[in-house]
Each structure stands twice: as structure tokens, then as C-alpha cells.
Amino acid sequence: MQLSSPSVQDRAPTPPQGRPLIVDARAVHAWYGSSHVLHGIDLQIARGETVGLLGRNGMGKSTLIRTLLGHVTQRDGQITLFGQDASRARPHEVARLGVAYVPEGRGVFPNLSVRENLVMAARRGRDGRQDWSFERVLETFPRLRERLTNLGSQLSGGEQQMLSIGRALMTHPELIVLDEATEGLAPLIVAEIWRVIGDIRGSGIATLIVDRDYRKVLARSDRALVLQKGQAVLAGPSAEVAADPTLPSYLGV
């Protein structure tokens, strides 16, 4: 398997044998203007796998995600998604390959009603799956059902978060990318989200997750990657990462 940055050669993220890789990114660099934000990061995600992405504020987690998704155009490196070269792919092409995105800050459409936010996103999965129906999303987040006709801008912060996740599910992704998806959610709902993540993992959907609750992330993910100033400083099976004595220093705890 490929190795990530030199310092972690011995702990390269090795996905479980036999499962096909749906994300295979190697030596990813990214820039915002003249500032070099990502310095050669490797990331692999296999089908159905949950991968956690950790690091302090401003270390490049979101940038890595946005680079994989094609939103950061100043990038370098080799990105393969579902076996296809996506190094230069545009965001909508990435999405159509089966990647859904729940961005930090939620990205709810403020001028669309809750129903419209959901309905507009609906799409069949790669294999024709349509198990995440409108109804099922509303069952998962009952609060949304009460707010169906409200505009996105009229929702509480947590409601927006639910809507954003629900909307991602409506696209029937193979990989769902959650950037701080539990931000602003009540503990009960957070538990529910983690349960849903577990569910979708069970149904073979892979997850790339960023969350401030690093313990939960490490506990619920298969593998994890820790970023520090745009470099991968720790990578490997989550249990190993969790046990690593240097982890607290990278997370500032």
C-alpha cells in the first residue's frame, strides 16, 4: 500500500484487504492563492469504510475534503475515485460518481423550503438504489417534518444541520463526507447521527468524517488520519491512532 508522509511510513493507512478502494488520493497538495495549505497527503477509503479526519482548527481538514471534491482548483497530486481519475474533476462530476457532502456551515439553501431542499437533491444511487426516500429522511429527522414549508433561512441551526445531512442522503451516495456534521446538534440528535452513520456503514456506504469529538470519531471509525499544518502526522487503524501517545499533542488536548 502507498505510504503517506515520510514520518508515518510505518503506519500507512491500509484498508482492509479485499475491499475495493473508492477513494485513492496520493500526494495531494493544495494552495489558496500563494499559501500552500496541503503538503502531499495520501488518503484511501475502501467501500463501506469509515475514516476519521482529525486535527486542530485551521490544519487543513476542510481543505483536504474540498480538494478531493474538486472545489479547490489549485491542487496537485493524483486523485482516483471509484477507479476513475478525478485529479481534475469538477465538483458536480465528483458528486455524480457517488460522493455526497455535508459542508461545515451546512450549506442549506436559504431561499428554498425544507421540502424543496430535499426534493431537489434526490437522485438514484450508482446501482439504482433508492432506499433513502423522502419519507425515510423525515423519519430519521422528525423535526424536519414539522418544518417542511419553512424556508431554509428560517430554521434553527440544528435543524439546518439535519436538513443538510438529510439532503446528502437523498443523493444515495457511496461515500458521504461529513465536515463537522454534528456541530450545533443536541446530544440526543448527535447520538442519532452517529447511529445513522453506523447504519449507513452497515449498508455499505463509506464515510469520511470530521468531528470535534475525537473520541467518538476514533471509536466509530475504521481508520483515522490526523493533520497538522497540512501534513499527515498520524494515520492508521483508529484503535492504533487512539493509543498513540503523541495524539494529544496534535489535537491540543
Binding site: 489558496y32 492563492g33 479547490v72 482548483t73 436559504p110
Partner: protein, 337 residues
């Protein structure tokens, strides 16, 4: 992004304007006087659009009111004194701005644009459809204002110097204003009014003050225009002029005082250039085409307007692409999405 105007450039411009009469003929002086008046008008609008984020589409009304006041307040015989006439005209324009601003600042964004247009159109129809200001044919100014014998605006050179002084004064005043606390508060209002209110700025009076100042300065431009032409006409208040001034400041580059200056000159010179029979011969009558294409090209190639040109050249030389700017802009925009 701090918006420091480059003082050297501005100083050079004003120096060039001061020396210009030495080399120019009658027409040149006339022409530059006109452009300087438009520059004053553009500066007045820049205060609203570029600095406060209030896109006013009725600036011509304040301009026109200043001009009409000049003519209507002037006595039939004998030169009126500049000392009271000028303030009176600015006051008249400012008073209408107070009225318009007090009402239209209740609205935002495009709605604000349209309400200011509506009030400007009302002023337009008052002079257009009533005998007050001579109707559609306009009215004449009989004698031009003066202060005693030493400042007689009837003399083109005196008018030139006076206009230049006004332009300099307005520019200097606005430059000071924008770096003051008042100016920073306006900038804050442009970027995020909600936060301004939450931190304790009563934004309405701030915006209203900016609106009135802007209106009065537009009135000053109107005064100068009426004095220069000695003739006013309802078309001075039409939305075409409001639009043209807006075009000037966008072309020059929003958010910079010198952008208004550059824009006014660029717009006027471009028109003259494409209208010139000496260069284009018979095709000069199709000057709209050349002007239009130039404007389109400038939007495509100069994302920051004319003021951004030096920066772009520098970036080119250093070999830094424009993509960084784009990433920045989209990021900043999404913040409000």
C-alpha cells in the same frame, strides 16, 4: 483588505490637472472642466456605492436639483454671489437627499436601488411636466455667479480653477472621511450591517448622513454644471445620467476614491476617442460600438476595474495567476450565502 489609495498617483493627477491649462486650448479647458464636474458627481456616488454599499440609482436627481437651484435662485439681472448661492444649492440637494434617504433607507439591496430611482423620477417629472423649470425645453442662467470682481465664474479659466479646487476639496474631504471612524463605520455597514447593529452602531443615522453628504456633493456638481453651461434641462435628472455615473465608478473600480476619478476620465475620454472622426472617419457615428466593446473587454479582463490594473500587471510579472483572487472572492461570498 485595506483600501489605501495611492497618494502619489492622486497627487500626480491633481498636479497634471493644475498644469493642464498651460498647454490646453479653449476647448480642452472646457472639456476637462466638464469631466472634473462628472468626477465630483462620481465621487459623491462612490461614497454611497463603494464605501457604504448603498447602490443609489437616483444620483442625477441631486445633481439636477443643484443645477436647477442655481438657475432658479439666481436673480434675473446682476451676478449672484457665489458665497450664498453655492451653499444654497448644496443645501437644496442635501434637503431632497434627506427626504429621499429617510424613506428609501427602509429598504435594502435592489429594492433600495429602485426606490431611489423612483424618487429621482419624481423629481424628473416635476421639472419635465410643470412650468416650474421651463418644462422640457429647460431654462437659462442669465448671469454667472461671482465673488466681487476677483472670482468671476463666467471666465472659463476661473471656472476651471474653481472646479479643480472643488474636486480637490471633495476628494480630500472624502479621503479624510473614509479613514475616520465615521468612514470605517460605513465600511462596516457595507460588509455586515447586522454585526454593526449588534455591536452598538445605530446604522440608520449613519447611512442617512452618508446619503445626505452624497446628495449635497452631487448638488455641488450640479451647481458647477449649471454655471458652466448656463443652461439646465430636465434630462440632467434622467436615469440615464444616474446610470452613467454608476458606470463610471464601476469602470474605475469600486471601493477606491481614485476609482471614481479614473472612471470619470476614462469614460469621457473613451467616448471622445470613439467619436473622433479624425481616427475613425465615417465609422465614428457608430461610436457606441467601440465604447460597448471596450467596456465589455474591460469587465472581462479587469476584474477590479481600472484601479486594479497596476496590481494585475504586478501579479503578471511575478507570475501569480488570478485563481487566488477567485478563491478568495467565492470564499468571502459564501460567508453570506
Amino acid at each position: 483588505m485595506n483600501r489605501r489609495s495611492s497618494p502619489l498617483f492622486v497627487a500626480l493627477v491633481f498636479a497634471a490637472l493644475a498644469l493642464f491649462p498651460l498647454v490646453a486650448g479653449n476647448y480642452g479647458i472646457d472639456f476637462v472642466t466638464k469631466v472634473m464636474i462628472y468626477a465630483v458627481l462620481a465621487l459623491s456616488l462612490e461614497l454611497l456605492v463603494g464605501s457604504t454599499g448603498l447602490v443609489c440609482f437616483g444620483q442625477a436627481a441631486f445633481f439636477g436639483i443643484g443645477a436647477y437651484a442655481t438657475v432658479l435662485l439666481s436673480p434675473q439681472s446682476g451676478a449672484p454671489s457665489l458665497l450664498w448661492l453655492l451653499p444654497a444649492c448644496m443645501l437644496a440637494a442635501g434637503a431632497y437627499a434627506l427626504f429621499v434617504g429617510a424613506l428609501s433607507l427602509r429598504t435594502k439591496g435592489v429594492y433600495f436601488i429602485m426606490v431611489t430611482l423612483a424618487f429621482a423620477q419624481m423629481a424628473y417629472y416635476v421639472v419635465h411636466d410643470t412650468p416650474l423649470g421651463g418644462g422640457t425645453d429647460g431654462i437659462y442662467l442669465y448671469s454667472k455667479p461671482a465673488i466681487g470682481a476677483w472670482l468671476d465664474l463666467d471666465k472659463p479659466l476661473t471656472l476651471y480653477a474653481f472646479t479643480l479646487a472643488c474636486l480637490l476639496a471633495v476628494f480630500g474631504f472624502l479621503a479624510l472621511l473614509l479613514r475616520s471612524r465615521f468612514g470605517r463605520a460605513l465600511a462596516g455597514i457595507r460588509v455586515n450591517e447586522q454585526r454593526m447593529r449588534a455591536t452598538g452602531f445605530s446604522t440608520y443615522p449613519y447611512k442617512l448622513a452618508a446619503f445626505v453628504i452624497s446628495g449635497a456633493l452631487a448638488g455641488l456638481a450640479g451647481f458647477l454644471f449649471a454655471v458652466k453651461d448656463g443652461y439646465v434641462n430636465p434630462e440632467m435628472m434622467s436615469w440615464h445620467l444616474s446610470g452613467a455615473v454608476l458606470i463610471m465608478i464601476i469602470l474605475g473600480g469600486l471601493g477606491h476614491l481614485r476609482g471614481a476619478l479614473i472612471g470619470a476620465f476614462a469614460f469621457a475620454l473613451l467616448q471622445e476617442f470613439f467619436k473622433s472622426e479624425a481616427i475613425f472617419g465615417g465609422f465614428a457615428k457608430h461610436w457606441h460600438l467601440g465604447l460597448g466593446l471596450t467596456i465589455i473587454a474591460s469587465v472581462a479582463l479587469l476584474p477590479r476595474g481600472l484601479v486594479g490594473v497596476p496590481g494585475q500587471v504586478r501579479e503578471r510579472l511575478v507570475g501569480k495567476g488570478m485563481s487566488s483572487r477567485r478563491a478568495d472572492a467565492s470564499e468571502v461570498r459564501n460567508e453570506h450565502a
